[in-house]
Symmetry: C2
Subunit: 303 residues, 2 copies
């Protein structure tokens, strides 16, 4: 069982509106609603890969109920802790050419609610093979909370993977997570100056077991106890990059539970990321693209 | 008791986002959610005027529940009939300068659901002083349904006011409503060619007791059994015209239950419309603007 954590779960809504008038009235042709947030996307990919997975985190209000209902409809196991405030909606308005994204602020979380979550998190992690902790923190959650969660997992002997940005990323190594996964821009913000390899090394020095840096079409860089590796893509896949990082994280989580060596872990993770770009919706991936790109990804030790 | 009918009730959501990037990611600063739809706005204004009012119509899904929850929070009596599909959301995205409106399609309504509504409508109308029927029809509701509803009210001796557009407006007079209230553009679409007075006369000839045409800053034209009247505004009020027509309709409904003569009915309705323009949210009106503009509105018999 892999546990994913999404503290700022969302209802992802997409409006399909041809010829948007940005200063007038638009009739929406199609509305898509889907449970989202990075950890939920990771759980979808892991479930599609046949893994036993449960999506956890915080959810509140009628939007929280819509999130749970959608996961039920998708047959995805979940165990979200209730918060009183309304979970956020993210809206994508697409006119075919351009897409505008609107991210609502997350629900404010009380200390009591966070204690409730910590209790059920510890229970879930006790029996788990790995934990994936992803995404932004809602208001009221301390910025070192991912380090706290990774620390609980470390104490229980369960490897944790943290995919975060900003302060939560900066603090994450303190919880001794098995893997920290920033993209190269997030890494540059967290450890300014120096190369990606130096930034990753710095996060390892602070407690991260391994650091995997996603570099978009340039592949992956991994700084690990077994050495440094670079995965290079054979070609660029066109499509929607939203959710590519989550598919990549799902691949890394799979590597944690299946105990592959780093080269194969990285090859699979990079292939899933590319296959997610080819799929229109975050949390999905294109199996044909995965099958084609996977064997063509080269992994070298990094100079 | 005044009954309002909103077959296509909505959750009106407003996003306040400074400097919108229409091709990128936007952080929403404030989210406002409020039960809406024209009849709901009418009910809000009537309640604010101290009237005993109940908002009815169709509502479904979690969005329907959010609509009911918001009415509960506002202390507004309601009795919506449940539909299986999801009620619509309308979204206004404002960057301060421009506002883009996105109207989701309404829920498809089944014949059974419409029969359930008709039953509870007839029960509500039996004890009512007036009925206000407003707004668009969701999918599955026949275009002459407002005539059917007005006809039920007429049979029970309860005056009905219909505020509609397109085919529903075209058919409305067949139900012998006390008042039909198009704006001048809606009237011109329903009865092409001729003056507003001629268009209104045509709808009266087809069965409407009176026709009140709203002309924006130009005031109101009323074609009634007591003659034709024109209400003229003393000055233009700046602000948000959304909901002005609903406040105007609330004023006309009040005239139906308080049995004022047409000049005072029109003066109050036009003043409420202007006072709603001065309020930022549909369903509200500015009492100071109402008090100032009301005595200054001139009503003349139309040449």
């Amino acid at each position: 069982m892999i546990v994913t954590v999404t503290l700022n779960a969302a209802l992802d809504v997409t409006y399909d509106t041809p010829d948007v008038d940005w200063a007038g009235v638009n009739r929406v042709r199609h509305v898509h609603r889907r449970a989202g947030g990075k950890g939920v996307n990771v759980a979808r990919v892991l479930a599609a890969l046949g893994q036993d997975v449960v999506a956890t985190g915080l959810a509140g209000g009628l939007t929280g109920r819509a999130i749970r209902d959608d996961l039920d409809a998708a047959g995805l196991a979940h165990g979200f802790t209730d918060v009183a405030a309304e979970s956020r909606t993210t809206l994508a308005v697409s006119d075919g050419d351009r897409t505008a994204l609107f991210n609502e602020p997350g629900p404010p979380v009380t200390a009591d609610e966070l204690r409730n979550f910590a209790k059920s998190y510890e229970k879930a992690v006790e029996g788990a093979a790995a934990v994936v902790i992803s995404g932004s923190l809602p208001l009221g959650v301390p910025s070192d909370y991912y380090a706290v969660l990774a620390g609980i997992a470390a104490r229980l002997g369960v490897p944790a993977l943290v995919d975060a940005d900003g302060e939560p990323l900066r603090h994450a190594p303190g919880g001794r997570p098995a893997i920290v996964k920033p993209n190269h821009e997030e890494l540059a913000r967290a450890v300014p100056g120096g190369t990606p390899a130096e930034g990753a090394q710095a996060l390892r020095a602070e407690g991260a077991g391994a650091v995997v840096v996603s570099m978009g079409a340039d592949g992956l860089l991994a700084v690990t106890p077994e050495g440094d590796f670079q995965a290079r893509m054979p070609y660029a896949v066109r499509g929607n990059p939203t959710g590519a990082g989550d598919a990549l994280v799902a691949g890394l989580a799979l590597g944690l539970v299946e105990a592959d060596g780093w080269p194969e872990r990285l090859r699979r993770a990079a292939a899933l990321g590319a296959a997610a770009v080819a799929a229109p919706v975050a949390g999905d991936f294109d199996r044909a693209v995965f099958a084609d790109v996977h064997p063509k990804i080269s992994v070298s030790t990094h100079p």
